[in-house]
């Protein structure tokens, strides 16, 4: 079977071999040939074509590029794509099912958890990692878990409410 990838402008120099990596993204198994200096965020956006992962500061400060690697939130601008070899990645595109939004996405809509929306994918993934281990967080827990994700619009009030809304919805779903 042949898989075709977007050109990510990632041509290795003669003395730097490309690396072949296998990874899973949002449940789909992928194989890619990457130059070692390609960042995970580049692979996701330009290689796989999933542009929901945003590049904000590109300096490990803002958390806009947050994705889950093996369920843990990390900054994809600060991990090499080759390091995804053998690992499982979840991006914001992996939250919703074909028919419905994830409760976190519903929560951000219901509680007005975004204005410009640039930080939102990273916020939702950091929040998902929290709710996966702590289904009933306090406001303090939510603020702590999101403390690596910066938002320049909202003042965080509604983001925190959105995550608490999603937590309540997820709890009611699992109770029902």
């Amino acid at each position: 079977m042949t898989t075709v990838y977007d050109d990510v402008g990632d041509q290795a120099a003669g003395d730097v071999p490309m690396r072949r990596i296998a990874f899973t993204i949002n449940g789909a198994r992928k194989i890619a040939e990457v130059e070692p200096r390609l960042l995970l965020a580049h692979l996701i956006r330009r290689g796989v074509g999933l542009t929901g992962t945003h590049m904000g500061c590109d300096t490990t400060n803002c958390g806009a590029c947050t994705v889950l690697v093996d369920g843990k939130p990390i900054k994809s601008c600060t991990m090499l794509a080759v390091q995804a070899d053998g690992h499982e990645i979840t991006t914001v595109e992996g939250l919703a099912s074909a028919s419905e939004l994830h409760p976190l996405q519903e929560g951000f809509r219901a509680e007005h958890g975004l204005q410009c929306g640039f930080c939102t994918p990273g916020m939702m993934l950091a929040a998902k990692a929290l709710l996966d281990v702590n289904p009933d967080p306090t406001e303090e827990d939510v603020r702590w878990a999101l403390s690596g994700n910066l938002c320049r619009c909202t003042g965080y009030q509604n983001i925190v409410k959105s995550v608490l809304w999603a937590a309540a919805k997820l709890r009611s779903q699992s109770a029902g």
Binding site: V16, R19, L39, P73, I74, T78, Q83, S147, G148, N149
Partner: protein, 291 residues
């Protein structure tokens, strides 16, 4: 931003990693969490020709206590592992206080304590903590293993005592002789920022008397500062308001802060003093109870 081009190897054993380092000479660099190295490479402050990624080396992600209480932290133990550690909460108050203050939750999921020590940023929190605890770093190279006291491991800003073909495989915190107490306080402008000022205090007491003291300072000098005179001021007796005052004064004198966008030198020195008093006053209460 892209780093400069580099060759990438991800060995599956320490022996292989050491061989790659040995062959790579000064242009080879170990990557563990990469949370300092990748940003430096993107900004082209570092342009190693060979990256030896040790994330696939098995058996380095531990932190555990020996039967005698010696704590060992492996090269792939992440900050988040330490933040969640019951072992630290029970037996390592200074480390337990510092772990949640490292960078931000996302960085803590990848960054490592041992990598932080190797990076030797004057504003790195772990170096102060490990120095205050009298810890050491175990290095492995072609010639075998050696332990380097943490106070000697950091040789200057962004410089460590490793030879080019040595890997720091674990940090070691010696077992306490008496009852261990202490803490870490960090002043930062926002979560994830480097420390404006950080102070680590590690004490051991027996029968209400201080038998070992360590105080180290973050972010107030060209490298981590061991405030040895401040620690000495606490030795041999119970903590008293007078001894705490002497230690705080000596720690403030040991600081070599510079005025910058995070605060004036005078302010930083004042905060060192304040943090030492706060940390020791808190301990004073627990030491009093134990006695």
């Amino acid at each position: 931003m892209y780093p400069s081009r580099f060759r990438y190897e991800a060995p599956r054993s320490l022996e292989e990693a050491i061989r790659l380092l040995h062959e790579g000479g000064d242009e080879a660099k170990i990557m563990a969490g990469g949370q300092s190295l990748v940003p430096l490479m993107k900004l082209r402050f570092a342009s190693p020709e060979l990256i030896v990624d040790i994330n696939n080396v098995p058996g380095l992600d531990y932190h555990r206590a020996d039967p005698d209480g010696t704590l060992r932290v492996g090269a792939l133990c992440r900050h988040a592992d330490l933040e969640r550690s019951d072992l630290l909460k029970q037996a390592q108050p200074t480390m337990a206080a510092a772990a949640p203050l490292i960078a931000d939750p996302l960085v803590r999921n990848r960054g490592t304590l041992v990598g932080s020590l190797c990076h030797a940023d004057p504003q790195g929190d772990w170096a102060s903590v490990v120095v205050a605890l009298g810890g050491s770093v175990v290095a492995r190279g072609p010639g075998g293993r050696r332990a380097i006291p943490a106070a000697e491991f950091v040789t200057g800003p962004f410089e460590n005592a490793l030879a080019h073909d040595e890997i720091a495989v674990e940090a070691v915190i010696p077992a306490p002789v008496g009852t261990r107490s202490g803490g870490y306080l960090k002043l930062e402008r926002r979560v994830g920022d480097f420390a404006t000022v950080g102070v680590a205090v590690a004490l051991e007491t027996s029968d209400g008397s201080v038998t070992r003291a360590g105080i180290a300072l973050t972010g107030v000098g060209g490298s981590t500062i061991a405030a040895t005179q401040a620690a000495a001021a606490l030795m041999g007796g119970p903590l008293t308001p007078e001894s705490i005052e002497r230690a705080a004064e000596a720690a403030a004198e040991a600081a070599q802060p510079r005025s910058d966008h995070r605060g004036s030198a005078e302010y930083k020195r004042h905060m060192v003093r304040t943090f030492v008093v706060r940390l020791l006053s808190r301990d004073g209460a627990s030491v009093g109870k134990a006695a």
